[in-house]
Amino acid sequence: MTPPNSTALSNTLDDFAKISRLCSLCSRMCRHSCPTHLVTRSDACSPVGRALIIELYRGGKSALTEAAVDRLYQCNLCGACKAWCMPRHELPRIIELSRERVVAEHRAPAGTLELDKNTSEFFNVYGEPHDERFAQLQSILKNQTSTAEIAYFVGCTTAYRHPEIASATHTVLARLGIDFTFLNGEKNEVCCGSPLIRAGFIESAKSLAEQNVKAIKESGAKTILTTCPGCARALKLDYPQLGIHLPKKVKVLHMVEFLVKQSEQLAPLIKSPLQTKQTGSILTMTYHDPCHLGRELGIYEPPRQLLKLIPGADLMEFPHNREYADCCGGGGALPKTFPALAEEITRTRLADTPSASNSYLVSACPNCKLHFTETQNQVKETDLKILDLMEILAQVLKERR
């Protein structure tokens, strides 16, 4: 094992040798769940295919050729393969570690280099100016306290692409009378580093993690809330693996974990069922499980429990849900490396939404919202309303008296 304080995550490709070998010899018991395989239908572009490529590389039988690198990056790291694996092999982790080797050998795909460049220069994955991270949230920042027990870690996608999720979160917390602060200004929240860990840029991720831990320490907050499952996973699971630790008394929670504990306070605040303007009838909602929130953090029921607090809410399920949920297509840096493949996966998930007509597709992840929205805008095949769970709650909560 890697010694403490190493710059690498606390395990290496060779630590997983036994598992990657077994995966490479499997009769492909999980192939049917792999989103990129289901588009390409290629046996090399599948969990077992990637495991075999890793084994060939480890055994000195194959270099990291262009095709090998492509197959290793044609993966959403969604973890669906784990749900179908009886021994629960951590193949996605092994693929991440193989990507670290790709980066170390200077063979990283161009799209991922852009991620690395953006985060090192601008501290966000989109390459937007860092000092504009909170620019779209000025209206809610005005009345915000600068110190509080609770801090909201916004994350890049919410900050730069879907600030309405932060506004909705602000509304929900305000309705509940919960005092919280942002990690803005001198406290300086930066990208959580999750996209870099997933893409193999471990050194860059570590640098971001250190900045965030410093910001959180300086804020004095005891609870860090986030609406992004990728950020939650990074802060909860990846940072300790990187050897970077938040103070023990600091808890990190995804907003659904936090709010489900406030259910008793929330329920009486819900003013009315959701209604369409056109028909006045109650809308149906389908909850999409984000991969990081579900398979990685094991959080399946809290978002559903929150949506069920809404009187008359008709909560539908995808045919593949919870542990077996399909990826939105946005995971594993795929939109950066193979955008057409990612888009095809997103289209499939959108098409699988039950009661697609005039209903809500609800997730609890800004990246899922981003990819669903972008793809729907392009294909215009459905009239789904794609919202974050925080936006739904913000719509139905009334002012406290």
Binding site: S42, A68, M86, P87
Partner: protein, 489 residues
Amino acid sequence: MSAASTAFNVNRVKRQLEVWLGKENVSDAEVDKINYSRDAWPLRLLRLGRLIIEAKPDLIVWPQTVEQIQRIVKLANQESIPIIPVSGAGGVAGGILATTGGIIVDVKKMNRVLFLDEESFTVTVEPGILGYELEEYLEARGYTTGHLPSSIYSSALGGFAAARSAGVLSSKYGKIEDMITGLEVVLPTGELLRTKAVPRSSMGPDLKQLFIGSEGTYGIITELTLRIAPSPEETQFASFLFPDLHSGMNAVKQVFRQDLKPALIRLYDENETRFVLSRFKPPSDGACVLNFIYRATKDFVRLEKRTVTKICLEGGAEDLGPGPSKHWWNNRFDLYYPSSMNMGPGMLYDVLDVASSYANLEKMYWEMRKAIEAFGVGTMSHFSHFYPDGGNIYVIFVGHANSPEEVETKYQQIWDAGLEAAHRAGGTLSHQHGVGLLKAPWMPIEHGETGFALLQAIKQYLDPNNIMNPGKLGFGNETSKFPKEGASQ
């Protein structure tokens, strides 16, 4: 019969195929070719575990239409390039290994359900749809094919037909050849053959049956129509412990003589019974478990359960309740995941799947056990597909050897001895796993000289240049029982 040429201008052919199929549907990348140099044949996997690279194709293509397949096959036929059709690649006999190089035609992109005929209770599909995908589609609409092999996640409809497969509930639903009512096949010269999808016909021999079990040597299956059944209203489980194998076997015969067809009838020998009951109760020496699954309407399940229970109790069995049968059903895929048990250094394992009439079945079992256990390996066996007139045996062997070379030698000796014993006892040498490379040398023995010559003559007529899946089923120049290590690197 001469084998197709293994030397062809790969780059030129690749460029042509890219024009027809699009660049994204053609690959000669090394890592892709290695990924297509394996199925689930234990010997190939044991070698792959040692990172032995062999049996690579020169190209892989993913056609999306029948017309594309016809073009590919015509080109290959003109230039004598081997073609290896692949769908799920879940076979266990080396049936898709490109031992002579050539083009792998992976049909998995042809995965549509073309027509669900709810009046006739049939479904028409393309060959690349996985068994799991089709069952998921049908289940959502209240149907099932009933064809549920343990490879269902990794095998596809084209492969089911090509390898003449059987699902675990075959006693009720039948085997793949009972389900298929119509086929479309691209012949090795590129012509298209369609058989009418009808319940039965007496217009001469049944042409579609020629292709079911031909393992890609007679053509590429491009469309199948299958019978479907309603999703069961009721499923129940039952297990009985018999004092010995013979009394268990007698009970099975009685079940058929009462005109019953439980979905699953699965009789374990004493060795596998100890394994099956490990979490329930230790059996007495020689005792054998007989599992049943009933799947039908509630009324029929009640009748079946009552009658089967009466037969078993009168046959001297102890009623174990639903536990062991239900446990098997819920965990039936567990053994298909590789583990250090079967993939560790020096380990060797496989399964012989043979069948015979009741008159020979028990004798065949004992003789195979004796022949296989003589090599110092352990066996456990079950009888899992039954008919009114007989059944199959699944003899699993697991052992150890001191070197990779010894693993291969012992593996081959065990197969030879086991199949020889089965043949002597009057059994067929494969019930459901097919021939591939593994059992290719046994084809003349199975069919006799006249029978095998007839199959070869048909092959010669259909495929004069021997391009289709060379070496499988014992056709062509492939005379070695196993591909030489490192063949076609």
